[in-house]
Symmetry: C2
Subunit: 295 residues, 2 copies
């Protein structure tokens, strides 16, 4: 009974606007149900949506627990609003994980993809987040789960993508080769490209970096004690760099401890975060304020 009343209290949407240095960038944090909050938002106003919704859970008492069988039904009205608020050139990155129950993987994430396509979304890509230091443990019939899906959806075939922003160091093969060259050789080559002298080197000059693939190898964060973030800051950062430019707007309808907003602020992007649970709402504000102080 008391819990119900607390839930009612949360229904009233509270909102705070945090500003980074010189009021250049804004981080809006909204306390409330994300469906209500989304309905009040302007159409075609968001450049990137990145979120990790609550995982399906059969235990009814748990916070955010939605029964696996009801998951798609619960999530579709939200994705409908997300489709509305996203710019035509924008991108939606959805981090979702299947619940393994009774020794079997549930199909709600697959059902969701199919249902979202019917809603008008394009399923453009499936990134894999390879968690290097995944949760340890041993089970009789399965190994440690070391990966998660990062589904990419778009409104149109053409969307903004800034690939150069996330280029990575090339394979060790090329790196080693460059390192073995003397500094003189490198300088000589720079000034005499195409002369035939050191031609084999010129092939690699300016190519220390390569484009990444759709597999992201990132460690999970273990530092935060108050609230273990669903994903490490590196993850939203990577997608913010890839799909937005400074001044764009990033949205996370399930903000949690504020990781997405912090990543956006750090990279000079505006952000909107929605969180239903007051405890996390306060925590997110606190974490974002700490980030602002740093800048």
């Amino acid at each position: 009974m008391k819990k119900t009343q607390t839930a009612l209290k949360i229904q009233t949407i509270e909102k705070i606007n945090l500003f980074s240095q010189k009021d250049k960038r804004k981080a809006d944090i909204i306390l409330g149900d994300c469906l209500d909050a989304l309905k009040k938002m302007k159409s075609n106003s968001i450049d990137l949506i990145i979120t990790s919704p609550p995982y399906a859970d059969q235990r009814k008492n748990t916070y955010g627990g939605i029964h696996p069988d009801k998951y798609v039904e619960w999530f579709l009205p939200i994705t409908k609003e997300l489709l509305r608020v996203l710019k035509p050139t924008g991108t939606f990155i959805l981090n979702i994980k299947e619940k393994v129950s009774n020794g079997e993987r549930h199909t709600y994430s697959l059902d969701l993809i199919i249902a979202m396509k019917k809603q008008g979304w394009l399923w453009t890509e499936e990134f894999i987040w390879h968690k290097k230091n995944c949760y340890p443990g041993k089970w009789p019939n399965r190994f440690r789960d070391a990966w998660e899906r990062l589904l990419q959806f778009n409104k149109n075939k053409k969307f903004n993508m800034y690939q150069e922003a996330v280029m990575v160091q090339m394979g060790d093969w090329a790196k080693t080769r460059l390192k073995n060259l003397s500094e003189t050789d490198k300088r000589r080559d720079d000034s005499r490209v195409g002369s035939g002298f050191g031609k084999n080197i010129s092939k690699w000059v300016g190519r220390e970096k390569a484009y990444p693939s759709n597999v992201l190898v990132m460690a999970t964060e273990t530092s935060n004690k108050k609230h273990s973030a669903v994903f490490p800051k590196e993850l939203p950062s990577w997608f913010v760099k890839l799909f937005t430019k400074p001044g764009d707007v990033v949205l996370d309808p399930f903000l949690g401890s504020g990781t997405t907003s912090i990543a956006a602020l750090e990279l000079d992007r505006n952000s909107i975060g929605i969180e239903i649970k007051e405890e996390y709402y306060r925590l997110a504000i606190q974490n974002i304020n700490e980030q602002i102080k740093k800048t």
Copy 2:
């Protein structure tokens, strides 16, 4: 026209039984359509099915090209037979990945999972094969595709799994692999060692054993020129060790160049391989015979 006639000729099933040293283990290779061949097989007789069926392809001329929209319809009768021939304690590993067409991912592999569940299969796990040396290329709206699905299906919640067989043995690994690797190789790619599961050499130093996760880091084999669609032998080897014991029976209904049969033979398991294309059937026999000579 000529192609149709060749296809008709292939309909007649040819079969060969290859034996390893001392006739201890058998490798049956069947030339013919896998659906026909499967129907002649005994129920509940296979311990592990591991295969990589032809991917859906809009081009009709390619080997096994099946249109994406017809893929599930084409594959379901085969999985029905696979369900029949698999032992109750057996496992089915399906290597499949949808291609990108028109800027969007097709959903046939998702549809297939859902349809196979209705058929009676349990979808127990999804392994990720992380291909580090994926096909290069650059496009305005996507990165290189560096992973494939390895779907695990079972008949029952209880199935045979020998986890210790795929643990990384520090002793063996140090003796056989580490010393054989050149310094360049070690620098080039740390993750190759330990059957593709090691993430970092330093991580394993001083440790006896470690369980792997459900992410497999393995390179594709680029040296095989005769058959373009091979997975590295390490891949079937790993699953053969994990899900069978010596003397068990491994089945690959789309044998290709014979990789699965070779892996099984090498690990002292019996195997059955089915291949529809005569060219690959001959190639598989040749490759397996070469393996037998080695032992």
